[in-house]
Amino acid sequence: MEMFLYIALFAPLVGSLFAGLFGASKKKLFVGIISSFFIFVSFVASSILLSYVLKTGSSIQVEMMTWMATGDLYIPFGFVVDQISVTMMMVVTLVSTIVHVYAIGYMDHDKGFNRFFSYLSAFVFSMMILVMSDNFAGLFIGWEGVGLCSWLLIGFWYHKESATWAANEAFIMNRIADLGMLIGIFLVYWNTGTLQYTEAFAAMPGLDTETLTWIGIFLFIGAMGKSAQFPLHTWLADAMEGPTPVSALIHAATMVTAGVYLVVRSNELYALIPHIGLFIASLGAFVAIFAATMALVNRDIKRVIAYSTLSQLGYMFAAAGLGAYWVALFHLMAHAFFKALLFLGAGNVMHAMHDELDPFKMGGLGKSMKTTMILMTLASVALAGIFPLAGFFSKDLILEVAFIDQHFIIYGVLLLTAGLTAFYSFRIIALIFHGEDRHTALGHHPHEAYKFMLWAMAPLLVLAIISGFLFKGGFFEMVTQLLPATEYHIDNAATYWTITIGTQIFVLLAIYFAYKKYMCKSIKIPDGTSAMENSFKYKLLINQYYIPHFYEEYLVKPYRALSTIFWEKVDNKIVDASVDGIAKIIYSSGEKTRGMQSGNLSTMLKWMVAGLVILLSLAVVFGLAARHSVEITTILSGLGV
């Protein structure tokens, strides 16, 4: 079994390196095919590991080699395949495989085709390290690795100013959070003396609550950055500058869920500090509704889906914070499937519309892009949580968790968010595929994507439909061997049916409202004149609650001013000046002392005597000091030294 573990881990790396060989050359189709094949190999190996874990119920732990061993610190390159990591591995490799195949078609005309596959496979490798590591150090390597690949891929079209800006923003935001994460890891090591998950978590019940709280907070700060939780959320929407397959893989299905994975992995820690858990849940619920409201008005289909991702991540954190770790993980899995599908569908639309992103400039695309329409509609249905698709089982479960734990505020917020989710999902569906044809006037002639791209999306569609009711039981049995096995059932049947059906009706109403509002013939391309666009609410939402503006105005600008001051005053006048000064001193002393090296024997003899005098004086001084060391010590101690 260890062999499969290594295959699953290193196949993406091989693919990445292979593609990297052709990074600078022209587009070669086989590069895409071969790296996709390696990811597929990794997927197959992961599947074998999954079946093994399912069958035996045990986990596989290997230690590849020692990484650091200094004093008491021992960090190996160790990997573990248990119920949690195998779930993540399956999600990562499956979505990656599909996205790789899809990208062969999507990146068809791109100059950086080979480079793209190199980055994408490198990302998968980093993600595999992240989820498979059995210690915090390895997790951190993967954590930084995915951050790096995310930076590379967001800024993939580096000639675009906005893309490089977004890439840097994402990277810097993540760095801020990673600092918190590092402090958390240091605290873990400091207090438990080890970084291995099992040993560290085993030692944690012995620590006092305050220490645990700090560890929990700092680790969660890391998770907040990676999973784009408030207030570090702004980078995710801007990260949509990257190619759409990247958005599907990294910024929807895998990397952004790393934060959730961290919280789930650290469940034993967070179980000890329920107040932090409640904070996480509250923040999750807040982000869920916060992001959903921003998605309501946005006029960029990818950003809408990004906000939706943010919102769903909020759901996951809400579940994890309330202690329903397996529910969080389940929603993570289901969400990965339908959100990737949604993004890839959006990619098809973008491709057809020549990178046009404003849904108001589309309309009526359903005629020319029937398959995409079906795919995206089903994905949206799954996202909205309609029975019997995946979203229903995972998302309604989170609502039930909140309800049963009697956190009614969180429940209310999440319920409202569910309605908003349905509304904005179908708003863009309606705007893109239905209603009046608004794009022909703008000179677009949409066409359906390649057949194999559509076929590649098919597995995601199937999973988005069936993963809910088919996997729920098995999944519960599998992961609860590691996670707290809390079953969430509402005892009162009447209450259960009321809230379930109530939710469904609420969601369906939201969908109906969206269709009604955005399918009518009078939809025009907004030009900023309508009353709605000038209302305060609209402005607040379209400007993302002015948070990016706030950051720009109150953080970036003062920081820039401060940097300028430091550059002009400190760097130029102190640092540079002192360095130059040292150089000048050395230079002038060399200039002065070159007379010594005149080659004149007489001068040399003089210098020799001078050196002799200096050395002899030193000998006398030290000789006297050694002889009178006792007295000197007495005098010095008398002086208080």
Binding site: S602, K606, V609, A610, L612, V613, L616, S617, A619, V620, G623
Partner: protein, 183 residues
């Protein structure tokens, strides 16, 4: 009493002689003064009871070394004044004084301050006899090494100075030297 008079007299003479040696511009004066100084130094050895050392001093320095210098000087044009550019005198004198004081301070301080027992005490016999006893028992190996060294020095002196005695490079023209060198 006589010892003190002798010490001061010879000290004065030695210092004067050596002073002339380092200050005069005439090589011949310097050589003569040096030879005289060497002999005066041998007087100290006799005062100190080191008869053998005094004899050696006279024989080796005043005899052999001075003769060697005298012969060596025959090769040089000693009548010609060497233009000697003088540097800062105070630096030179100051440095040398400090250095000398320091050397003495370092090497002599322990000997004065501590009572060290003699390694090879001076016995009752004559000085020369005692020297012989120590030299050929305890210091036999250094003695032989010194002998070999003297032999080596003698051979190298002969080889260096005596090679091609018949031709003088100074009397030859530049072209001849170059021609010889290119062969």
């Amino acid at each position: 009493m006589f010892e003190a008079i002798a010490f001061y007299l010879f000290a004065f003479l030695t210092i004067v002689m050596f002073y002339i040696t380092v200050t005069t511009s005439q090589a011949l004066y310097a050589l003569t003064a040096l030879a005289a100084g060497m002999i005066f130094i041998s007087a100290f050895f006799f005062i100190l009871g080191a008869d053998f050392l005094g004899a050696v001093q006279i024989v080796v320095y005043s005899g052999a070394v001075m003769a060697l210098y005298a012969f060596g000087m025959m090769f040089f044009d000693t009548t010609r004044d060497l233009k000697e550019k003088q540097g800062n005198k105070y630096v030179v004198v100051g440095l040398s004084t400090i250095a000398a004081v320091l050397v003495v301070l370092i090497f002599m301080a322990p000997i004065i301050s501590e009572n060290i027992t003699a390694l090879y005490p001076i016995g009752d016999g004559g000085n020369t006899q005692e020297i012989g006893m120590v030299l050929f028992t305890k210091y036999l190996v250094p003695f032989e090494v010194a002998a070999v060294m003297l032999l080596v020095a003698m051979i190298s002196g002969i080889v260096l100075a005596g090679k091609k005695m018949d031709e003088s490079l100074t009397l030859q023209s530049e072209e001849e030297i170059n021609e010889k060198a290119s062969k």
